[in-house]
């Protein structure tokens, strides 16, 4: 029986987008299960990826660390994974967008019709635009048998994560432990900066989280765990991967700075998710440096290890509190430098 005092139980919604991120999140689930023997009910999970590359437990990645039986418990459940895909005939769709058909004209804001017309794969092709379009296309996917869309699952998850809500109730009744704080629910987005799906989905998912939280009157704290650097095996595409990572980091930097920025994600004609101000409360980097370079299993395991400490350890909370004070310092410095004087407390 695990010593539950070592753990910190917070209301957290973990969402991973793309292959590397889902591998990290599944490893994280396996490590939690090995430590606790269960996945805390106050946590919600969602794995998002293209249907051509659905997230599966990486059982052969760390066979000496994760016993095979653990994967029976760590694999996503049916309501914890949603797969994305674009229409089969993108060329025809592009023609309609080009022609200004009212029901699809919004697509032009995400992917130029000329580019869409060329699409014939089931993947993001390292282009964030295709991921954003796939997210928008699947946001209202109500086909029979598909269950709720990723957006519906996010909505349900956030609803269950309200203070005293379903997630906390199940934690108390099943584990006899309570969530230790009354903070807003935490949304943790995991993405690989060098892949099309994780790169393209990170900001839209953050926009959705902020937007849904605001609509429900339930603010959320949004954090991102960004895999970056050469975390994939060498394949000759390293420069291109770093380039798209640079694009994402510029966008994240803008999103973290906040200010008067307004972010939006069109979901269909006349419908979009929007939010204002700071998109992320914190972004953590997990860069494949040194011997982690081009060592995929080591890089994702390292990310999962750090995630486990950060989001499950009680001791991490104490460290985080002291770091918050330090993190505030540059904002104060910036304020000082722009105003030309020390802040006026009066």
């Amino acid at each position: 029986v695990a010593d539950l005092a070592r753990f910190r139980f917070r209301r957290i919604f973990f969402i991973a987008a793309g292959g590397a991120a889902n591998t990290v999140l599944l490893l994280f689930r396996a490590m939690v299960w090995m430590e606790l023997g269960f996945l805390p009910e106050c946590w919600r999970f969602l794995g998002v990826d293209f249907s051509s590359d659905p997230p599966v437990p990486p059982a052969d990645l760390l066979p000496r660390e994760i016993p095979p039986a653990v994967w029976d418990h760590a694999a996503y459940g049916p309501s914890e994974v949603r797969l994305l895909e674009l229409p089969e005939d993108c060329a025809a769709l592009a023609e309609r967008v080009e022609a200004g058909a009212p029901d699809v004209s919004w697509i032009g804001a995400l992917v130029p019709p000329a580019v869409l017309a060329q699409y014939s794969s089931g993947e993001a092709l390292q282009l964030g635009a295709f991921t954003r379009l796939a997210l928008a296309w699947a946001a209202d996917d109500l086909r029979p048998g598909t269950g709720k869309s990723w957006l519906g699952l996010m909505e349900d998850g956030l609803a269950s994560l309200t203070p005293g809500g379903e997630a906390e109730h199940h934690l108390v009744t099943r584990r006899r432990v309570t969530c230790q704080d009354a903070d807003p629910a935490l949304m943790v987005l995991v993405g690989g900066a060098c892949g099309g799906t994780g790169n393209g989905a990170l900001l839209p998912l953050a926009i959705a989280a902020r937007s849904l939280g605001a609509a429900a009157g339930q603010p959320v704290h949004v954090e991102a765990l960004l895999l970056t650097g050469h975390y994939r095996q060498r394949d000759g595409q390293e420069a291109h991967k770093l380039a798209i990572a640079a694009a994402l980091e510029k966008d994240i930097e803008h999103a973290v700075a906040g200010g008067n920025a307004r972010f939006s994600l069109p979901l269909g004609s006349g419908r979009e998710l929007t939010c204002d101000g700071r998109l992320f409360d914190a972004v953590y980097r997990e860069e494949a440096t040194g011997r982690l370079e081009h060592n995929f299993s080591a890089a994702v395991a390292q990310a999962a290890d750090t995630m486990l400490f950060r989001y499950a350890a009680a001791s991490a909370a104490a460290i985080q509190r002291s770091r918050n004070n330090i993190a505030f310092m540059p904002r104060l410095m910036k304020l000082t430098s722009t105003q030309g004087s020390r802040p006026n407390h009066a």
């Binding site: 130029p112 282009l127 770093l242 640079a246 510029k250 390292q302 750090t306």
Partner: protein, 519 residues
Amino acid sequence: MPDYAKHYQHIQRLVSLTIAPELPDAIAAVVLLDHLSALAAETTLPATAVAALDPVSVPVFRPRDIIAMALQAEEPPSLGRLHALLDRRFEEHRERRAGEDPGSRVRAVRDAMPAADPAHADVWAEWGRHLAAIRDRLTARLQEASALADQASQAFDSSHREAETQLANYRRAAARPRAEAAWWKILRAGGVWWIVPALIAALLYLIGQPALRAAFAGAVAATAVAFWARRLGDASANPATALARVTPRLCAPAADALATWFELREETAVAAAGLERLAAISNLLRPELEAGTAITANLASIRQILVRHLDQVSEGPLEEPRPGLVRVTGAEVARALAAGANLSSPDLSLVPSRELPAAELAPAAQALLSHIRSQLPEVALPAALAAVESLAGGRLLLEQYLRMLVASATSAARLKPGTRLDRSLCPEMLSIGLPEGASSPLVPLVARLFPQAPIMAAFRPGRMEILYDIANASRDQLRITEMAEDAYVQATALERQLWHLPRRYRGLHGEPQPDLRAV
């Protein structure tokens, strides 16, 4: 001054040192192997039970004593009667010995053994070997004694015939008139030496000296009579007494052969009876013997599996399955930890008492390992590291691995060459988490190697966790950013448009999206 609006709050990395999952199994394997070796070394049969099983420990039949006593009688029995007398005594002796209950010996064996303890399977198996050895010895002895008895029987027959002939002669001689018998005896018993005086007498007779002839003949007769009178004593006066005195001498070779034959017959009978008794005892002990043999065979096979298992354990004492994770492992460490495990007598009751087929041996070995592992105290990281340090060169190796681990943690952020962080704004922190926190026995080691690192309680039990984090490091200060920017500027406008959030692209580049109608 860096632009602190462009920052990531934290770069954080956690690396750890822990115990390899296979180490507890390896310790259990070492404990089990040690125990099996000790069992094998202690396979000694209880002395009292061994004595009880000894088939020679029975009263000895003494045919020579009986023969000597019989021949001392006033009327010594004939060899035939002596044979019959020995035969009767021998049968009585054998009946006394045959009345013994094999169950009493089995009880002695069982009483001497600890109650149904599989740990003594080797002793039971040793009983099986001991009984087999006795059986072999008795069989050989039976064959050898039977062959010798046949030879003794032939020797007796030969001696018996000769003795009977001589005795018959004596009896006849004793039955004739005294003078005739005396002269006959003189002539017969005198042999060739009487030819000399006879020839002298004949010569004297021929040369015709009557006085000399008469004197010589008288002297010879007187000497002969005096000799035989001394030799036969009063045999001529009492023939029965004379026979009683001469019979032992005449019967001696036959009696000796008879005694030898009876001794060999006893040996044969003892060996045959011993074999019968062993068969009965083996039958009565069969459950224990078969179980002991089966368990011993199983343990021998399990021992081989355990040896192979230990051979497959990582070499150790430290391994790095991936950067950021170091483990204590290896058979050497397992042996060092097993020495202090304080589990002197593992319970082997899980070993089935029937001989296992090959397919069931590995699961049985695993079950034993798991069982023994559950009896062992949990391996604590300080003890495991102490075991590493106790090995030759272990201390130096441990320090190297720890430094390497810390290097893995602190390399989480690679700065651009020439970049120096403003430590007042971007502090680095290296914390070491130990089992039991500041009260851990590992504190002196950590304090010596990483004197500036604060010590905290590790999140995961049994781990040393090394947490590195750096706050407020700007993206522009990172080496990877420089490389990524170089790649980014090589991209086309269309690529960048497809990478960025649409509105973000316009913000970055101050231009509308490219006109793609020409694409």
